[in-house]
Subunit: 362 residues, 2 copies
């Protein structure tokens, strides 16, 4: 039987995951069954097991067909050495599962444009996929650390340093995902780098350019990251697919998601070779509202849809879940993080989850 490893984490993680679970249960009605096995991760895992990513959790995730990730992070653990902090679990899981691409798909149908911080005419019709490299770049390059500055005017002072790097194969595997996605969508790919400054970007740009020959049906453009970000804010609908490295991707995918009106509206699929992926709402633990039935479960429910599509071969059910979410939003239900307006109604986490389930059956 299909096996889902579920890592609720902390803060609002367990609450939003609980709504995703309701949706999962509701899918039985359509003949879909899966085993739901929960594991410990983040600060709560550190407290219970002395490790934000216990070996048992990694084994659980590795043995599953897909992983659903809630949220981790708590400033109570900021004093710990970096290896023990909750966020390490995120980076550790990506590595352990060989996930090297993050896909964030953001859509703003005209009926929901009013949610966006951007004016309706700038955002209506947005349908953008951000493909972020997730394993390399300055996130994992070696060497890195603290030392006495080895030279220059600040010699001997405390220095922090990291290595940014990409090898050809790392660029290729994520760019292939982006080219294929562009081919299946509107045929336009924007590759984002800082090739005017960075050697790493020079290699990135060269490899992506070489690959373009294999995709004559895809129009490839190269943008510097600062320019790409400005265009993303000023004219987001001009983009189809964006592909970029881990660090620029962290910023651009979050910027893209906030354009929809709340970061709690768009989910991410984290993929590697093969069908197993990790799916997440991608927002933080929001400790200030945890346990108050105020969190927005929509991104987490949409993560379920992505999982159905990318890991479980059930695109048909993914569409059902996505349609249910859209119906509830178009019907005017909102959580507290979203813009409230005449004709909308602010509801809690549970209520929103139940409404999505009801829409699934409608």
């Amino acid at each position: 039987m299909t096996r889902i490893a579920v890592l609720p984490g902390e803060g609002i993680g367990p609450e939003i995951v609980a709504q995703a679970r309701k949706v999962f249960e509701a899918l039985r009605h359509f003949g879909f069954e899966a085993e739901w096995v929960e594991g410990a991760v983040g600060g709560m895992a550190y407290e219970m097991h002395g490790d934000p990513l216990p070996a048992a959790t990694v084994a659980l995730a590795r043995g599953a067909d897909a992983v659903l990730f809630g949220a981790v992070g708590d400033p109570r653990f900021d004093h710990l050495e970096r290896a023990l902090r909750p966020e390490r679990a995120i980076l550790g899981l990506r590595r352990a599962l060989g996930l090297y691409a993050q896909l964030k798909h953001v859509c703003v149908p005209p009926t929901l444009a009013s949610l966006s911080p951007l004016r309706d005419e700038r955002i209506a019709g947005l349908d953008l996929l951000v493909v972020r490299e997730l394993d390399g770049d300055v996130y994992t390059g070696q060497p890195r650390g603290r030392r006495a500055a080895p030279g220059g005017p600040f010699t001997g002072q405390r220095e922090g340093f990291d290595t940014m790097r990409y090898a050809e194969g790392e660029v290729r595997r994520v760019a292939r995902i982006a080219f294929e996605a562009a081919r299946a969508r509107r045929g336009s790919l924007a590759s984002v780098d800082k090739a005017n400054v960075l050697e790493t970007s020079g290699l990135w740009r060269a490899v992506v350019s070489e690959m373009a020959a294999d995709y004559p049906d895809v129009t490839l453009t190269h943008l510097y990251a600062d320019n790409a970000l400005m265009q993303l804010i000023a004219q987001p609908t001009r983009f189809d697919v964006i592909v970029t490295g881990n660090l620029f991707g962290d910023l651009l995918s979050d910027a893209a998601s906030v354009l929809t009106g709340s970061i709690a509206l768009s989910a991410s699929a984290l993929l590697g070779d093969g069908p197993r992926g990790m799916y997440e709402a991608g927002h933080g633990t929001a400790l200030d509202i945890a346990g108050q039935d105020r969190a927005n479960p929509i991104a987490c429910v949409r993560a379920v849809a992505l999982m159905l599509r990318h890991s479980l071969g059930r695109a048909d059910l993914a569409v059902r879940v996505e349609d249910a979410v859209s119906a509830v939003l178009v019907g005017g239900l909102r959580t507290a993080d979203m813009v409230q307006a005449p004709g909308t109604r602010c509801v809690g986490t549970e209520h929103m989850g139940n409404a999505i389930v009801a829409a699934l059956h409608a």
Copy 2:
């Protein structure tokens, strides 16, 4: 006599600089006189002298009280090795003049909120200063280059790599500017990093935190770059002063400037120790509209105001120039890059420059 080194560069650079010059000339009326000496920079300098930043230009800039920079960059030179490309002139000048802080001040008075891609209620009243470190970080860290990947699954493949780094003193000198600015403004400073991932950011955060003791009147917060960017888009008016490193600052300062409605509306001051600074519109060469009297000269004129304030000790005249620009905008004049609406009038570069000069005398 006060001496201004002027580096028009290419594309729309010379056109916008010509309007700044008119404003300069008009200031004679208020008893201000300065010598205006032009130098070659960028692609045109490469074509004339084989070097995008000739030694004579560096000498000119070093000998001046302030530098006004137009724009450089032209894809015609993309095939050249990086050291000969026009953008090198930008990085080279920063180094040669010891400029380690870029100040970008973005303001959106309620009367001009309609220009922004954001909804009026999100942007009205924005008054934000982004202080970007400009000398260090992954822009200049060594080693950097191309090599065969030294290890891991991609051993032997082409690899591009750079070094991200900050030493304590580099963080201190730029953070001091930001703390002082916050003290003179609304007393709130947001320091932006990725301390959850990067060792460089860990050092950055530690040093900025230590300095907070010297500024008990400033409220310091630390934000991760992805979160800062989301807040900048969703609720920009919550910020007063932002301080960050070179790479995050490149993105955040451009994002901030696009929120005003056009990147051609906000100028930058590039500062080091001492009064000499470089001032720039900070946008690109816009080759597609160069020479057509369509470029927006406002950021370049505002750069003159910043120069008067930060390098020439004439804050009184800076206010006059800024007021003249605001008056023209509030009066409804627009260039083609800005939102057009009922009651506004689209004019060319020259017309806009002349209108600002007229407003100066009004």
